[in-house]
Symmetry: D2
Subunit: 453 residues, 4 copies
Amino acid sequence: MAGREKCAVFGVRSDKPVFESIYYALYSMQHRGQEAAGIATYNSGINLHRDEGLVCEVFKGVFLEGNAGVGHVRYSTSGSSDVENAQPLVINYAKGSFALAHNGNLVNTEELKHQMESRGSVFITTSDTEIIAQLIAQEHLRLGDFIEGVKQAVNQLKGSYSLVILKGDNIIAVRDPWAFKPLVLGKLDDSFYVASESCALDAVNAELVRDVRAGEIVVIGDTLQSYRTRKERKCHCMFEYVYFARPDSVIDGVSVYGVRRKLGEILAREAPAEADLVVAVPDSGITAAIGYSRASGILYGEGLIKNRYFGRTFILPKQAERDVGVRIKLNPIRSEIKGKKLVLVDDSIVRGTTVKRIINLLRDFGAAEVHVRVSCPPVKNPCYYGIDMQTPEEFIAQKKGVEDIRKEIGADSLAYNTIDSLVEAIGLPAENLCLACVNGSYPIKEEQLKLNV
Amino acid sequence: MAGREKCAVFGVRSDKPVFESIYYALYSMQHRGQEAAGIATYNSGINLHRDEGLVCEVFKGVFLEGNAGVGHVRYSTSGSSDVENAQPLVINYAKGSFALAHNGNLVNTEELKHQMESRGSVFITTSDTEIIAQLIAQEHLRLGDFIEGVKQAVNQLKGSYSLVILKGDNIIAVRDPWAFKPLVLGKLDDSFYVASESCALDAVNAELVRDVRAGEIVVIGDTLQSYRTRKERKCHCMFEYVYFARPDSVIDGVSVYGVRRKLGEILAREAPAEADLVVAVPDSGITAAIGYSRASGILYGEGLIKNRYFGRTFILPKQAERDVGVRIKLNPIRSEIKGKKLVLVDDSIVRGTTVKRIINLLRDFGAAEVHVRVSCPPVKNPCYYGIDMQTPEEFIAQKKGVEDIRKEIGADSLAYNTIDSLVEAIGLPAENLCLACVNGSYPIKEEQLKLNV
Amino acid sequence: MAGREKCAVFGVRSDKPVFESIYYALYSMQHRGQEAAGIATYNSGINLHRDEGLVCEVFKGVFLEGNAGVGHVRYSTSGSSDVENAQPLVINYAKGSFALAHNGNLVNTEELKHQMESRGSVFITTSDTEIIAQLIAQEHLRLGDFIEGVKQAVNQLKGSYSLVILKGDNIIAVRDPWAFKPLVLGKLDDSFYVASESCALDAVNAELVRDVRAGEIVVIGDTLQSYRTRKERKCHCMFEYVYFARPDSVIDGVSVYGVRRKLGEILAREAPAEADLVVAVPDSGITAAIGYSRASGILYGEGLIKNRYFGRTFILPKQAERDVGVRIKLNPIRSEIKGKKLVLVDDSIVRGTTVKRIINLLRDFGAAEVHVRVSCPPVKNPCYYGIDMQTPEEFIAQKKGVEDIRKEIGADSLAYNTIDSLVEAIGLPAENLCLACVNGSYPIKEEQLKLNV
Amino acid sequence: MAGREKCAVFGVRSDKPVFESIYYALYSMQHRGQEAAGIATYNSGINLHRDEGLVCEVFKGVFLEGNAGVGHVRYSTSGSSDVENAQPLVINYAKGSFALAHNGNLVNTEELKHQMESRGSVFITTSDTEIIAQLIAQEHLRLGDFIEGVKQAVNQLKGSYSLVILKGDNIIAVRDPWAFKPLVLGKLDDSFYVASESCALDAVNAELVRDVRAGEIVVIGDTLQSYRTRKERKCHCMFEYVYFARPDSVIDGVSVYGVRRKLGEILAREAPAEADLVVAVPDSGITAAIGYSRASGILYGEGLIKNRYFGRTFILPKQAERDVGVRIKLNPIRSEIKGKKLVLVDDSIVRGTTVKRIINLLRDFGAAEVHVRVSCPPVKNPCYYGIDMQTPEEFIAQKKGVEDIRKEIGADSLAYNTIDSLVEAIGLPAENLCLACVNGSYPIKEEQLKLNV
């Protein structure tokens, strides 16, 4: 899964300098990538600044001129952190130059690379992004028109891609025909925006106009134009709703917060528990826990406090001997849970080790019973479209049934939402969702093959 | 208010190396001070490491030998950030040396300094801590016994002080006779601990034995010994419960989380509102909001999402022109609040500017009504004991009544808890609480004078 | 002059890990580039680490496995410091991958880029290095053999290039047919080395075997093989001898130190001065000053002391108001120069401003006379092959004769070496030297045209 | 030898802001201390900034207001690098406050500390500087007059001390009665300066007025006043001339450069060698080598090139296996030394290991003979006054005679200057020099005792 990219993109064209807007927008999407950040603006030529680090670190003391620009934050995946894979990528060729930022993961990378290399292409980075950029350049050269080139280039891509391109002072936004990854269009006065998440539009005070459509190319120039690439079955990634996106974002017309709350409500209905208190694994389980509480009538409370300083900055002290476990990150509130029967709500279980430790901790602090409820159905299959999950062998749900998992993690009861419930909570037709990680039905057939090997 | 110290202290004596425990304990109390951190251990002599920065930054790659030690984190107050004020402070004198860490603020600093200077004392730092340390050394020299010296020294102090001292491999913990600041005693096997908050005991897996008592000196040596200094009216700082401490801590026998939840419950009873949803100003208003929801029966929901990357790392971009306001920190969830009548719960209102912006933001996102409910009674008076509040002129409640404040912040209704309700929520006798910031009744009379000037 | 590269390259193939050798070698050639450093090694695949900074900064805590590798240090030229231009560059294409490090500057960049872009090439960086790498890949694909590809690729290059390539665990070294830039071959036991300067061989304890020849391709594999590209007139850069290289290096069989000393000796013979003391502008004028002293019989002494902490680390203090001038860098020794007639020897004069300030300083400290002697003939023409000189308008010698320059800088007398003397000091045939910057005779005719425009 | 301080001090009083002057002055004295730097200025109160690092690192982005100020750079001695020992030290006491910077080392530290502690003093740092500052404060309090207090305080000090004190906007400079450490007075317009070395006066364009006298207190206020403390035999440290000071400084009326050159000249006369070339161990042996060459008539040349990037920044690469030795720092010029008989001049030999490696290196590069000549007589005794030499056991000259040392280091011949020659070169009466490290005659008798124990 080299070259995997899990990120956010942003683009804006305005009649005013755009650097500050891009900064705030990337800052608001920092949860989608903390490894690296980059901004390219156009001001007679392309200005580029990008580096490893958080947005506020990378752009300390930086300012780029220009009334149009694109930005990117990158997710930390181990190993491939070479700075040359940072984005946006700027490419120079016979027809000039452009900057490209990409969120997604191609599944025909090897095939494309092989084809392109056999035609003589060379690659300086190991990223999907360079493949896409070179394809666009080649097609532009072949066809003579940039938008036509983009169209023909992306028609060769399989997998997920939400792209923003800076060509001159125009912004071109592209969403793959499956619409795996979110991409929204926003507006404020005469400025137009594209962003991975609508929370970035809020950050720049812009209004959410609509989602970029599956297989759509939006060109933000003096006017706004829309083109279509090819048509596929829409397959929005359900994991954006369940875990990845910010709860205050709206994706494909659906409030992320609303989905999470409904997941909790349905769980309460489908998998009730006799309990005194609903508690969440913070922060990702909070909204579902609130939903569970509402629907079940069981009180909601904070049973676990998260250390707000945990995260990127935590470093194990020198000569540390003990297993730090979850204790340095989460601490139970004894008075709230002692002697209580708890419903513990989390968004998902992958390996099961963390939830096991949390249950132990809650029992240490006096919890009488711990009933685990999970918003997301059991995750069993790898994602090929950009969500960085474990390798299949690590999915506890692939090898064990629910009862065995319950025993393994030490819960008094365990229930997951069903796939139908998940679809109900999202409220979009099941055929318009990518549910591959929970049902193995991959929208692009190549993955099915990989899985059967 | 120079020399103000708002911090956490920690001490441990064990039969094993203590560095790692102190590291985790300080890490768990990082919310009490992000400016600087320090650890001193004893291992035939005193080893000291301290610097500006977060615990994980200051102690990257550091290890100090020793089976006894003390630690400190310091709060960021503007201006006085000179590194020489860092703690623990190590002092050398005719009877050897000791390390001292201090949480609190003396009110007779000037008087003590004047007396000591007139007796010939010189000061290298500008901190209260050096005054205390020198007094202890002087009294030790005068009386010949260290504990006797500590006793006589602290008897001259007025104000708040929770001290941990490392003298040889013994730990001495002292709490002022008013018991303004928290200080707890913990135990794990043969190790004994003192900490500002009980969450630090949880972090090192220790059991909370009891609070250090008002005016008590606890000596952790081969045996545990207890001494009394003088007696004063106990005056636990109510703001620790309302805002400052971690919710998972227990202070003077009272769960912080429980107090906050009850504050919300009482508010619901005393200041009901006709509303569709209870939302909190995250993170400090969450627990009270849950309480309000429980008692009122109005649904609790997350209406505002906090950017988890906001904080120490946020830096305004270069050439930033607009007022960033609360928008970069908090974002409303439109789907949750649109058209709704909201109860907005916060822990306190000081200047009123932030809550005003939040109300505006909520209305921008479609809130029909915003009823503000505040856990803490109106704050009108400065704190002289270590809580870094605004200057009196900045307290909106000092110049305006509730109705005027409501108009100023643009709320549909506004209510605070009463002082009686606050006392009820804490559950300790009113005379054992310091309520000076809300009722002007200062436990030490000097402050009363200052206020009348 | 975009894409200008003034650097050092290094390559080694051994039966032992090579990282440490490359580190020391780059460290010894740090004078050739302080902006960035990079190392690529081969160990079943290519490992790459590169970043901005000094060698010791970039490789702090880094180790790369592998028994073959190449390295690079880059000169600081303003503006083009984008990290994507860092070297070595790793390229992936249909026939695998290789790493390339380049010292030099092409003069047909635009033409090559135009041709390649018209054939569909795209470029991710703005460096000559990517052009060379892509050409090699294309020719390899076309011809099927890597070495043949290198040969055909470099035959299309005009300008200076000393290349080291890591292909599998083989090292390929290429020197342009003019042999502008130095490149030497070394050996220690079964390890073979290539380096920009022989001082790097000394640093790794290796023996200087010989220079890589003009237009030669040396392949260091299981055996050592040599190939020829095309033949041109050899044109070794004279400025390496005069200023750029370390004095302890030997280039094309000629000791740099020896050349500099002879330049001083000839100057003494050709441009004698009545003086009491010969002093140098440190560090670059020292060797010539010693030569001048020897040949003239006038005593050599240190008249100016250089602050050893000056350099990359010097930052003008905040709110600095005065012109720091040379004073913070150089300080005269009053006792040595007071009342003395001085010969001041420097390696070259470009704009004349620095030497003017030094003369003023010497007079302030009591020098009776200052006779300036310059090793290098007047520099009048720009370098297109990689030496970062001023733009032609800034050459004082282009607009003024020697007497006018003397007046301008305030010297009592001024003399330069003649071009003949320079050639004599180097000891190679004049036709085998590039003297373009002093005589305008460019080895590659395109430059002649540029100059006449 | 705890508390050892080897540093530079600077002070200035002007009618203009002084920060920039202090910055340049400290920068020019960076060779005296690279560990830490600090500046205190007076502007209604004392402003202080100090930290670990080079001057340019510590004061990046810093500016301190005020027309009077003092500065300090500190030498890196292993272990005692605690930031609380940084200077200037600011002290507060009944009569106000002052800042103190100190260069030197007291020999009665323990005695003073004991006396002061027995009178009740406590110490926050482990530095001599705090002892001096507290003594001054105590005497000021006792006597009522600051200058009188300084006089009485320093009269109790034994050892070396050059002090600059900032009291209000006055500068007080004090030099110990032995005048071990240099201290000069300078002037520019209406500004007065004190500095450890005269090169700092050059850096700020000031004129050297005179040395501060042994046992003198100079007060720079509205007028310049001078006071005397007690009288002792003047004992200027000879090592400042031989090695420690910058060659462009003038100390006690004697040019450092001149001394070094004469040391070489006398060596040539007293210890002639049959040789082809005189080479220096750079940088410290250069001036003496020039002198040797002049007096002997043997040519001077650079035989060893020093890597200009060696120093604080050099870090051994990860997993380094070999002994780096001198090779990474120094490289011989083969063409210059091959087959030659060399005179190798160094300033001093302490352990003998470095010169041994250099001789090996020179022989590896073809030197026919290596005759070592050393400016400084054999160093046999420790310094108690602030020069950080090895412990006595490490002095090769303490255990071995000249012939044995010659064999040990592998030289063809070896000669040192005699003590008489050293005195002759300096040109001051022998009784006015501290020669303890070479003749064991300590100016303060306590040291004699220590040595005999």
